[in-house]
Assembly symmetry: C2
Homo-oligomer: 232 residues x 2
Protein backbone atom coordinates (compact mmCIF):
# COMPACT_ATOMS: atom_id res chain seq x y z
CA UNK A 1 0.00 0.00 0.00
CA UNK A 2 3.05 2.29 0.15
CA UNK A 3 2.22 5.58 -1.51
CA UNK A 4 -1.54 4.84 -1.56
CA UNK A 5 -4.15 5.80 1.06
CA UNK A 6 -4.81 3.19 3.75
CA UNK A 7 -8.26 1.69 4.25
CA UNK A 8 -8.69 3.30 7.65
CA UNK A 9 -8.15 6.73 6.11
CA UNK A 10 -10.84 6.00 3.52
CA UNK A 11 -13.42 4.15 5.63
CA UNK A 12 -12.55 4.91 9.24
CA UNK A 13 -10.78 2.83 11.86
CA UNK A 14 -13.72 0.62 12.84
CA UNK A 15 -14.53 -0.54 9.31
CA UNK A 16 -10.84 -1.07 8.54
CA UNK A 17 -10.34 -3.25 11.62
CA UNK A 18 -13.47 -5.21 10.77
CA UNK A 19 -12.31 -5.73 7.18
CA UNK A 20 -9.00 -6.99 8.57
CA UNK A 21 -10.82 -9.41 10.87
CA UNK A 22 -12.82 -10.67 7.93
CA UNK A 23 -9.74 -11.20 5.73
CA UNK A 24 -7.98 -12.90 8.64
CA UNK A 25 -10.84 -15.38 8.92
CA UNK A 26 -10.97 -15.94 5.15
CA UNK A 27 -7.26 -16.82 5.25
CA UNK A 28 -7.96 -19.51 7.84
CA UNK A 29 -10.89 -20.83 5.81
CA UNK A 30 -8.58 -21.08 2.79
CA UNK A 31 -6.16 -23.05 4.95
CA UNK A 32 -8.92 -25.46 6.01
CA UNK A 33 -9.75 -26.05 2.34
CA UNK A 34 -6.42 -27.87 2.16
CA UNK A 35 -8.38 -30.93 3.23
CA UNK A 36 -9.41 -31.23 -0.41
CA UNK A 37 -5.81 -31.66 -1.58
CA UNK A 38 -3.81 -33.10 1.33
CA UNK A 39 -4.54 -35.60 4.10
CA UNK A 40 -6.88 -34.56 6.92
CA UNK A 41 -4.05 -34.77 9.44
CA UNK A 42 -1.81 -32.49 7.33
CA UNK A 43 -4.67 -30.02 6.87
CA UNK A 44 -5.25 -29.94 10.63
CA UNK A 45 -1.52 -29.56 11.34
CA UNK A 46 -1.30 -26.63 8.91
CA UNK A 47 -4.33 -24.93 10.51
CA UNK A 48 -2.74 -25.52 13.91
CA UNK A 49 0.63 -24.06 12.88
CA UNK A 50 -0.94 -20.96 11.35
CA UNK A 51 -2.97 -20.29 14.50
CA UNK A 52 0.11 -20.87 16.68
CA UNK A 53 1.91 -18.30 14.59
CA UNK A 54 -0.96 -15.86 15.09
CA UNK A 55 -0.63 -16.21 18.87
CA UNK A 56 3.06 -15.32 18.51
CA UNK A 57 2.05 -12.34 16.36
CA UNK A 58 -0.14 -10.98 19.15
CA UNK A 59 2.70 -11.54 21.62
CA UNK A 60 5.03 -9.51 19.39
CA UNK A 61 2.40 -6.81 18.99
CA UNK A 62 1.93 -6.73 22.77
CA UNK A 63 5.67 -6.16 23.22
CA UNK A 64 5.74 -3.50 20.50
CA UNK A 65 2.95 -1.56 22.20
CA UNK A 66 4.45 -2.08 25.65
CA UNK A 67 7.83 -0.76 24.46
CA UNK A 68 6.18 2.58 23.68
CA UNK A 69 5.72 3.04 27.44
CA UNK A 70 9.22 1.79 28.39
CA UNK A 71 12.20 4.03 29.06
CA UNK A 72 14.74 1.34 28.22
CA UNK A 73 14.34 -1.47 25.72
CA UNK A 74 17.25 -3.88 25.25
CA UNK A 75 18.37 -5.31 21.93
CA UNK A 76 17.21 -8.71 23.23
CA UNK A 77 13.72 -7.26 23.81
CA UNK A 78 13.80 -5.95 20.25
CA UNK A 79 14.67 -9.32 18.70
CA UNK A 80 11.93 -11.01 20.74
CA UNK A 81 9.44 -8.42 19.60
CA UNK A 82 10.17 -8.62 15.87
CA UNK A 83 10.52 -12.40 16.14
CA UNK A 84 6.88 -12.55 17.17
CA UNK A 85 5.55 -9.65 15.18
CA UNK A 86 7.17 -10.29 11.81
CA UNK A 87 9.49 -13.28 11.57
CA UNK A 88 7.20 -15.96 12.99
CA UNK A 89 4.66 -15.49 10.21
CA UNK A 90 7.27 -15.72 7.43
CA UNK A 91 8.72 -18.80 9.11
CA UNK A 92 5.33 -20.45 9.29
CA UNK A 93 4.56 -19.62 5.65
CA UNK A 94 7.71 -21.38 4.50
CA UNK A 95 7.07 -24.32 6.84
CA UNK A 96 3.50 -24.70 5.57
CA UNK A 97 4.77 -24.86 2.00
CA UNK A 98 7.02 -27.74 3.01
CA UNK A 99 4.23 -29.66 4.78
CA UNK A 100 1.73 -29.21 1.97
CA UNK A 101 4.24 -30.44 -0.59
CA UNK A 102 4.75 -33.59 1.48
CA UNK A 103 8.25 -32.83 2.78
CA UNK A 104 9.19 -34.36 6.12
CA UNK A 105 9.16 -32.49 9.44
CA UNK A 106 12.91 -31.76 9.47
CA UNK A 107 12.69 -29.97 6.11
CA UNK A 108 9.71 -28.04 7.47
CA UNK A 109 11.81 -26.94 10.47
CA UNK A 110 14.68 -25.77 8.25
CA UNK A 111 12.29 -23.82 6.07
CA UNK A 112 10.77 -22.29 9.20
CA UNK A 113 14.27 -21.08 10.12
CA UNK A 114 14.74 -19.77 6.58
CA UNK A 115 11.54 -17.74 6.78
CA UNK A 116 12.09 -16.69 10.38
CA UNK A 117 15.59 -15.27 9.78
CA UNK A 118 14.46 -13.71 6.53
CA UNK A 119 11.61 -12.09 8.50
CA UNK A 120 14.07 -10.65 11.02
CA UNK A 121 16.20 -9.30 8.16
CA UNK A 122 13.07 -7.89 6.51
CA UNK A 123 12.14 -5.99 9.68
CA UNK A 124 15.67 -4.63 10.14
CA UNK A 125 15.57 -3.46 6.53
CA UNK A 126 12.21 -1.85 7.28
CA UNK A 127 13.80 -0.04 10.22
CA UNK A 128 16.61 1.19 7.96
CA UNK A 129 14.14 2.47 5.35
CA UNK A 130 12.09 4.21 8.06
CA UNK A 131 15.11 6.38 8.82
CA UNK A 132 17.23 6.48 5.67
CA UNK A 133 14.72 5.53 2.99
CA UNK A 134 14.07 7.88 0.07
CA UNK A 135 10.73 9.65 0.76
CA UNK A 136 10.02 9.75 -2.98
CA UNK A 137 10.19 5.94 -3.02
CA UNK A 138 8.79 4.96 0.39
CA UNK A 139 5.90 7.44 0.30
CA UNK A 140 6.73 8.46 3.89
CA UNK A 141 8.38 11.63 5.17
CA UNK A 142 12.15 11.81 5.80
CA UNK A 143 13.22 9.85 8.88
CA UNK A 144 9.55 9.28 9.69
CA UNK A 145 10.31 6.63 12.31
CA UNK A 146 12.50 9.09 14.22
CA UNK A 147 9.71 11.66 14.27
CA UNK A 148 7.35 8.93 15.55
CA UNK A 149 9.84 8.02 18.30
CA UNK A 150 9.83 4.38 17.19
CA UNK A 151 12.24 2.16 19.07
CA UNK A 152 13.76 0.59 15.98
CA UNK A 153 17.06 -1.32 15.87
CA UNK A 154 19.22 1.65 14.77
CA UNK A 155 17.68 3.80 17.53
CA UNK A 156 18.20 1.17 20.24
CA UNK A 157 21.79 0.72 19.08
CA UNK A 158 22.30 4.50 19.06
CA UNK A 159 20.86 4.85 22.57
CA UNK A 160 23.34 2.23 23.82
CA UNK A 161 26.32 4.07 22.31
CA UNK A 162 25.69 7.27 24.31
CA UNK A 163 27.07 10.50 22.88
CA UNK A 164 24.87 13.22 21.36
CA UNK A 165 22.06 11.01 20.04
CA UNK A 166 20.24 9.83 23.22
CA UNK A 167 19.59 13.26 24.74
CA UNK A 168 18.39 14.77 21.46
CA UNK A 169 16.19 11.78 20.57
CA UNK A 170 14.45 11.87 23.95
CA UNK A 171 13.21 15.43 23.34
CA UNK A 172 9.40 15.41 23.23
CA UNK A 173 8.73 16.73 19.73
CA UNK A 174 11.03 15.93 16.84
CA UNK A 175 10.59 18.14 13.77
CA UNK A 176 11.49 17.01 10.26
CA UNK A 177 14.68 19.12 10.36
CA UNK A 178 15.75 17.64 13.66
CA UNK A 179 14.97 14.14 12.41
CA UNK A 180 17.39 14.64 9.55
CA UNK A 181 20.07 15.72 12.02
CA UNK A 182 19.32 12.77 14.28
CA UNK A 183 19.63 10.37 11.35
CA UNK A 184 23.11 11.81 10.69
CA UNK A 185 24.11 11.36 14.34
CA UNK A 186 22.91 7.75 14.24
CA UNK A 187 24.90 7.16 11.10
CA UNK A 188 28.02 8.59 12.72
CA UNK A 189 27.50 6.41 15.81
CA UNK A 190 27.62 3.33 13.59
CA UNK A 191 23.93 2.45 13.98
CA UNK A 192 23.26 2.28 10.25
CA UNK A 193 26.25 0.04 9.63
CA UNK A 194 25.29 -2.18 12.58
CA UNK A 195 21.74 -2.65 11.26
CA UNK A 196 22.96 -3.29 7.72
CA UNK A 197 25.40 -5.90 9.01
CA UNK A 198 22.66 -7.58 11.04
CA UNK A 199 20.34 -7.70 8.03
CA UNK A 200 23.12 -9.24 5.92
CA UNK A 201 24.04 -11.74 8.66
CA UNK A 202 20.42 -12.84 9.11
CA UNK A 203 19.92 -13.17 5.37
CA UNK A 204 23.03 -15.36 5.15
CA UNK A 205 21.66 -17.55 7.97
CA UNK A 206 18.36 -17.78 6.16
CA UNK A 207 20.11 -18.86 2.95
CA UNK A 208 22.06 -21.53 4.88
CA UNK A 209 18.78 -23.00 6.15
CA UNK A 210 17.31 -22.85 2.67
CA UNK A 211 20.31 -24.66 1.19
CA UNK A 212 19.99 -27.45 3.78
CA UNK A 213 16.24 -27.77 3.16
CA UNK A 214 16.10 -27.36 -0.62
CA UNK A 215 19.60 -27.39 -2.16
CA UNK A 216 20.01 -25.08 -5.15
CA UNK A 217 16.61 -23.42 -4.86
CA UNK A 218 17.36 -20.35 -6.99
CA UNK A 219 13.86 -18.89 -6.83
CA UNK A 220 13.85 -18.54 -3.03
CA UNK A 221 17.51 -17.46 -3.01
CA UNK A 222 16.62 -14.63 -5.36
CA UNK A 223 13.55 -13.76 -3.28
CA UNK A 224 15.73 -13.48 -0.16
CA UNK A 225 18.30 -11.35 -1.96
CA UNK A 226 15.65 -8.97 -3.24
CA UNK A 227 14.24 -8.40 0.24
CA UNK A 228 17.62 -7.14 1.35
CA UNK A 229 17.94 -4.84 -1.66
CA UNK A 230 14.44 -3.38 -1.54
CA UNK A 231 14.08 0.40 -1.37
CA UNK A 232 10.50 0.55 -0.10
CA UNK B 1 -18.06 -7.04 32.32
CA UNK B 2 -21.17 -4.99 33.10
CA UNK B 3 -20.42 -2.60 35.96
CA UNK B 4 -16.66 -3.16 35.70
CA UNK B 5 -14.13 -1.12 33.68
CA UNK B 6 -13.41 -2.41 30.18
CA UNK B 7 -9.94 -3.49 29.14
CA UNK B 8 -9.56 -0.64 26.67
CA UNK B 9 -10.19 1.88 29.46
CA UNK B 10 -7.47 0.26 31.54
CA UNK B 11 -4.85 -0.52 28.89
CA UNK B 12 -5.78 1.57 25.86
CA UNK B 13 -7.49 0.64 22.62
CA UNK B 14 -4.50 -0.89 20.87
CA UNK B 15 -3.64 -3.35 23.66
CA UNK B 16 -7.32 -4.24 24.12
CA UNK B 17 -7.76 -5.03 20.42
CA UNK B 18 -4.57 -7.08 20.45
CA UNK B 19 -5.69 -9.01 23.54
CA UNK B 20 -8.97 -9.72 21.74
CA UNK B 21 -7.10 -10.96 18.67
CA UNK B 22 -5.04 -13.24 20.89
CA UNK B 23 -8.09 -14.68 22.67
CA UNK B 24 -9.81 -15.15 19.32
CA UNK B 25 -6.89 -17.23 18.09
CA UNK B 26 -6.70 -19.23 21.33
CA UNK B 27 -10.38 -20.11 20.87
CA UNK B 28 -9.63 -21.54 17.41
CA UNK B 29 -6.63 -23.46 18.77
CA UNK B 30 -8.91 -24.96 21.44
CA UNK B 31 -11.30 -25.98 18.65
CA UNK B 32 -8.46 -27.69 16.74
CA UNK B 33 -7.60 -29.66 19.88
CA UNK B 34 -10.87 -31.49 19.29
CA UNK B 35 -8.82 -33.83 17.09
CA UNK B 36 -7.75 -35.53 20.33
CA UNK B 37 -11.32 -36.50 21.20
CA UNK B 38 -13.31 -36.70 17.95
CA UNK B 39 -12.53 -37.86 14.42
CA UNK B 40 -10.24 -35.74 12.26
CA UNK B 41 -13.09 -35.00 9.86
CA UNK B 42 -15.39 -33.83 12.69
CA UNK B 43 -12.59 -31.66 14.11
CA UNK B 44 -12.05 -30.08 10.69
CA UNK B 45 -15.78 -29.56 10.17
CA UNK B 46 -16.06 -27.83 13.57
CA UNK B 47 -13.11 -25.56 12.79
CA UNK B 48 -14.70 -24.78 9.44
CA UNK B 49 -18.11 -23.95 10.95
CA UNK B 50 -16.61 -21.68 13.59
CA UNK B 51 -14.63 -19.75 10.98
CA UNK B 52 -17.70 -19.50 8.74
CA UNK B 53 -19.57 -18.04 11.67
CA UNK B 54 -16.77 -15.52 12.18
CA UNK B 55 -17.14 -14.35 8.58
CA UNK B 56 -20.85 -13.77 9.27
CA UNK B 57 -19.89 -11.88 12.43
CA UNK B 58 -17.78 -9.46 10.41
CA UNK B 59 -20.63 -9.07 7.91
CA UNK B 60 -22.99 -8.16 10.77
CA UNK B 61 -20.44 -5.77 12.21
CA UNK B 62 -20.00 -4.18 8.78
CA UNK B 63 -23.78 -3.59 8.59
CA UNK B 64 -23.89 -2.25 12.15
CA UNK B 65 -21.15 0.29 11.34
CA UNK B 66 -22.70 1.15 7.97
CA UNK B 67 -26.10 1.77 9.61
CA UNK B 68 -24.53 4.59 11.66
CA UNK B 69 -24.16 6.51 8.38
CA UNK B 70 -27.62 5.63 7.03
CA UNK B 71 -30.66 7.84 7.31
CA UNK B 72 -33.12 4.99 7.01
CA UNK B 73 -32.62 1.43 8.21
CA UNK B 74 -35.47 -1.05 7.69
CA UNK B 75 -36.50 -3.72 10.17
CA UNK B 76 -35.28 -6.28 7.61
CA UNK B 77 -31.84 -4.62 7.65
CA UNK B 78 -31.90 -4.83 11.42
CA UNK B 79 -32.65 -8.57 11.49
CA UNK B 80 -29.88 -9.22 8.94
CA UNK B 81 -27.44 -7.23 11.01
CA UNK B 82 -28.11 -8.92 14.36
CA UNK B 83 -28.38 -12.28 12.61
CA UNK B 84 -24.73 -11.89 11.60
CA UNK B 85 -23.46 -10.00 14.58
CA UNK B 86 -25.02 -11.98 17.41
CA UNK B 87 -27.25 -14.87 16.44
CA UNK B 88 -24.91 -16.72 14.07
CA UNK B 89 -22.34 -17.31 16.81
CA UNK B 90 -24.91 -18.70 19.27
CA UNK B 91 -26.31 -20.89 16.50
CA UNK B 92 -22.86 -22.24 15.67
CA UNK B 93 -22.07 -22.92 19.34
CA UNK B 94 -25.17 -25.08 19.68
CA UNK B 95 -24.46 -26.82 16.37
CA UNK B 96 -20.87 -27.57 17.37
CA UNK B 97 -22.10 -29.18 20.58
CA UNK B 98 -24.29 -31.48 18.50
CA UNK B 99 -21.47 -32.44 16.12
CA UNK B 100 -18.95 -33.09 18.88
CA UNK B 101 -21.40 -35.32 20.74
CA UNK B 102 -21.86 -37.38 17.59
CA UNK B 103 -25.40 -36.26 16.70
CA UNK B 104 -26.34 -36.38 13.04
CA UNK B 105 -26.40 -33.35 10.72
CA UNK B 106 -30.17 -32.76 11.01
CA UNK B 107 -29.95 -32.45 14.80
CA UNK B 108 -27.03 -30.07 14.31
CA UNK B 109 -29.20 -27.92 12.01
CA UNK B 110 -32.06 -27.82 14.51
CA UNK B 111 -29.68 -26.83 17.29
CA UNK B 112 -28.25 -24.14 15.03
CA UNK B 113 -31.80 -22.75 14.68
CA UNK B 114 -32.26 -22.99 18.44
CA UNK B 115 -29.11 -20.95 19.07
CA UNK B 116 -29.75 -18.57 16.18
CA UNK B 117 -33.27 -17.61 17.31
CA UNK B 118 -32.13 -17.43 20.91
CA UNK B 119 -29.37 -15.10 19.74
CA UNK B 120 -31.88 -12.84 18.01
CA UNK B 121 -34.02 -12.81 21.19
CA UNK B 122 -30.89 -12.07 23.24
CA UNK B 123 -30.05 -9.05 21.09
CA UNK B 124 -33.62 -7.70 21.23
CA UNK B 125 -33.49 -8.08 25.03
CA UNK B 126 -30.18 -6.20 24.95
CA UNK B 127 -31.87 -3.42 22.98
CA UNK B 128 -34.67 -3.27 25.57
CA UNK B 129 -32.19 -3.07 28.45
CA UNK B 130 -30.22 -0.34 26.66
CA UNK B 131 -33.31 1.87 26.85
CA UNK B 132 -35.38 0.64 29.78
CA UNK B 133 -32.78 -1.23 31.84
CA UNK B 134 -32.16 -0.22 35.45
CA UNK B 135 -28.88 1.78 35.50
CA UNK B 136 -28.10 0.40 38.97
CA UNK B 137 -28.18 -3.12 37.49
CA UNK B 138 -26.82 -2.60 33.96
CA UNK B 139 -23.99 -0.28 35.03
CA UNK B 140 -24.90 2.05 32.14
CA UNK B 141 -26.66 5.42 32.24
CA UNK B 142 -30.43 5.73 31.76
CA UNK B 143 -31.51 5.13 28.15
CA UNK B 144 -27.82 5.06 27.18
CA UNK B 145 -28.57 3.62 23.72
CA UNK B 146 -30.85 6.59 22.96
CA UNK B 147 -28.12 9.05 23.91
CA UNK B 148 -25.72 7.13 21.66
CA UNK B 149 -28.22 7.29 18.78
CA UNK B 150 -28.11 3.53 18.35
CA UNK B 151 -30.50 2.17 15.74
CA UNK B 152 -31.95 -0.54 17.97
CA UNK B 153 -35.18 -2.42 17.32
CA UNK B 154 -37.40 -0.20 19.52
CA UNK B 155 -35.96 2.91 17.85
CA UNK B 156 -36.47 1.56 14.30
CA UNK B 157 -40.02 0.60 15.21
CA UNK B 158 -40.62 4.03 16.74
CA UNK B 159 -39.23 5.79 13.65
CA UNK B 160 -41.69 3.81 11.48
CA UNK B 161 -44.67 4.83 13.62
CA UNK B 162 -44.14 8.57 13.05
CA UNK B 163 -45.56 10.93 15.68
CA UNK B 164 -43.42 12.89 18.13
CA UNK B 165 -40.53 10.41 18.45
CA UNK B 166 -38.73 10.65 15.06
CA UNK B 167 -38.18 14.42 15.03
CA UNK B 168 -36.98 14.53 18.64
CA UNK B 169 -34.69 11.49 18.24
CA UNK B 170 -33.00 12.97 15.16
CA UNK B 171 -31.82 16.02 17.14
CA UNK B 172 -28.04 16.05 17.21
CA UNK B 173 -27.33 15.90 20.93
CA UNK B 174 -29.56 13.94 23.28
CA UNK B 175 -29.14 14.75 26.98
CA UNK B 176 -29.94 12.29 29.75
CA UNK B 177 -33.18 14.18 30.52
CA UNK B 178 -34.27 14.12 26.90
CA UNK B 179 -33.39 10.43 26.65
CA UNK B 180 -35.79 9.67 29.50
CA UNK B 181 -38.54 11.57 27.67
CA UNK B 182 -37.75 9.79 24.42
CA UNK B 183 -37.94 6.42 26.16
CA UNK B 184 -41.44 7.38 27.35
CA UNK B 185 -42.48 8.39 23.82
CA UNK B 186 -41.21 5.07 22.46
CA UNK B 187 -43.13 3.21 25.13
CA UNK B 188 -46.34 5.10 24.23
CA UNK B 189 -45.81 4.34 20.52
CA UNK B 190 -45.81 0.62 21.33
CA UNK B 191 -42.11 0.07 20.60
CA UNK B 192 -41.38 -1.54 23.93
CA UNK B 193 -44.30 -3.93 23.63
CA UNK B 194 -43.34 -4.76 20.04
CA UNK B 195 -39.76 -5.62 21.03
CA UNK B 196 -40.89 -7.66 24.03
CA UNK B 197 -43.30 -9.60 21.83
CA UNK B 198 -40.55 -10.26 19.28
CA UNK B 199 -38.18 -11.52 21.97
CA UNK B 200 -40.89 -13.84 23.30
CA UNK B 201 -41.79 -15.07 19.79
CA UNK B 202 -38.15 -15.80 18.92
CA UNK B 203 -37.57 -17.58 22.21
CA UNK B 204 -40.62 -19.77 21.55
CA UNK B 205 -39.26 -20.60 18.09
CA UNK B 206 -35.91 -21.44 19.64
CA UNK B 207 -37.59 -23.76 22.15
CA UNK B 208 -39.51 -25.49 19.34
CA UNK B 209 -36.23 -26.25 17.56
CA UNK B 210 -34.68 -27.44 20.81
CA UNK B 211 -37.62 -29.79 21.45
CA UNK B 212 -37.28 -31.30 17.96
CA UNK B 213 -33.50 -31.72 18.38
CA UNK B 214 -33.33 -32.89 22.00
CA UNK B 215 -36.79 -33.62 23.43
CA UNK B 216 -37.24 -32.69 27.09
CA UNK B 217 -33.86 -30.95 27.48
CA UNK B 218 -34.67 -29.02 30.67
CA UNK B 219 -31.20 -27.52 31.09
CA UNK B 220 -31.25 -25.69 27.75
CA UNK B 221 -34.95 -24.79 28.17
CA UNK B 222 -34.09 -23.12 31.46
CA UNK B 223 -31.08 -21.40 29.88
CA UNK B 224 -33.30 -19.96 27.13
CA UNK B 225 -35.89 -18.80 29.65
CA UNK B 226 -33.28 -17.04 31.77
CA UNK B 227 -31.93 -15.09 28.78
CA UNK B 228 -35.38 -13.60 28.30
CA UNK B 229 -35.70 -12.70 32.00
CA UNK B 230 -32.25 -11.20 32.42
CA UNK B 231 -31.97 -7.65 33.80
CA UNK B 232 -28.39 -6.94 32.66
Amino acid sequence: RRGRPTLWLQQGTAQAINAGDSMFTLAHLAMLELEKTVSLSTALECAWLLHQSCVRLTRGQYLDLAFEQCQSVSLEDYWNMIGGKTASLLGTCAQLGALVSGADGAVGQELYQFGFNLGLAFQVQDDLLGIWGDPAVTGKSVASDLMAHKKTLPVLYGLQQGGAFPARWQATNITEDEATGLARLLDQAGARQYAEDEAARLTAQALDSLERAVPGCELLQEFAGRLLQRQK
